[in-house]
Symmetry: C2
Subunit: 218 residues, 2 copies
């Protein structure tokens, strides 16, 4: 525990080794393998190999496969829910501006890590008790700026009188489904990487337009 360590922490600028430290290498490898194969399908040997280290080191740093998994899952969940929550709780944007931000931010996020939604949905199905508590989904909507705006807009007739959950289902469904059904959808139309990418880019603009058409009163 040297002076340098503290200095780095205070400056909020961890010493450069942090990106290449063994611990970080293992976490990075674990993310890849767990996302691809799920908890049950992943082997600690795969993770060790992916990280370029020995199997024993994995247990040295994280004690068990499950503990390592919990860490990866928590981070993935945070990445997936966090931006969503912050958008929905922002009182300074309108409903449709929120949709616009969501579409752009999420499609970019999921282009980086396309396996995240299916990973989360799968694992949530397989161990619900563990994850439902973790992600606190109630806080996501209940009492949010979005909820208030939605109720108000229904009252004024600005948007149609439909349950809020339909709005969420449609928005998330259109946003996330392509990343869940990728192999099916891509092979249905034999898209190469380029056209798949351009379809995703188009959806950034189209989804907000579609949501307006579905829910706005005119």
């Amino acid at each position: 525990m040297t002076c340098y360590y503290f200095a780095a922490e205070k400056m909020n600028k961890p010493h450069k080794d942090i990106d290449t430290s063994t611990e970080e290498k293992i976490k990075k490898a674990a993310r890849i393998v767990f996302h691809r194969k799920g908890f049950a399908g992943a082997r600690t040997r795969d993770i060790a190999e992916e990280a370029g280290i020995n199997l024993a080191l994995l247990n040295y740093y994280f004690r068990s496969k499950e503990k390592l998994f919990d860490i990866i899952m928590l981070e993935s969940l945070k990445g997936f829910m966090q931006s969503m929550t912050s958008v929905f709780h922002n009182p300074d944007t309108t409903i449709f501006e929120k949709v616009d931000v969501m579409a752009n931010r999420y499609i970019d996020l999921l282009k980086e890590e396309p396996e995240i939604p299916l990973f989360i949905m799968s694992e949530m199905r397989h161990h619900p008790e563990k994850l439902i508590a973790e992600m606190k989904p109630r806080q996501f909507l209940m009492g949010s700026a979005f909820e208030q705006q939605f109720k108000a807009a229904v009252k004024t007739g600005e948007i149609k009188n439909v349950k809020m959950i339909h709005f969420i289902m449609n928005l998330l469904g259109m946003l996330v489904f392509p990343f869940i059904a990728t192999p099916m959808l891509r092979s249905m139309t034999e898209m190469n990487d380029e056209s798949w990418n351009s379809v995703l880019e188009e959806r950034k603009k189209l989804i907000p337009q579609w949501i307006k058409l579905m829910f706005e009163n005119h």
Copy 2:
């Protein structure tokens, strides 16, 4: 191989034991366990227990876990794709009638077996080589009545000039996503069984309306 057996077959009315035969009991149990836990997470012991039989019998009837899985997966895939394919290849319905049939048929189907979509998507991610060939997704759209109708309708301006894949993504996304994200969605709004069910029923009518709003030119 008795006379009765043939008689039953000819009458297309298999003798009553077929529902309760050991083989069928195992398949039924395997469906439940594989759908819930996936291939990697399911244990043959779980399946045997669920079926109320001994582990050895499972191998006696199906030789291996993988062979049993292949049978279950093929049937699930067939159930999931078959109705979709038949709707999309029917030349006697309009585009929007197809959507209507899809919404009603699929929501009913998935209310019966809600785990199917996530099961298929998960396993397709984990062993793509095996499943892509099986489901022949190209035949689903390419050369279908739907494809021809869609192209024609874009030409006449009846529907907007958008790529067909967006239509499919939105329809399937809105239809299937609620069954993929069930635990998240339900806990977000604390829905009980009754209100969850009524939301699904509402969507049978709403999804066709939304699709029209999104894609029809007016």
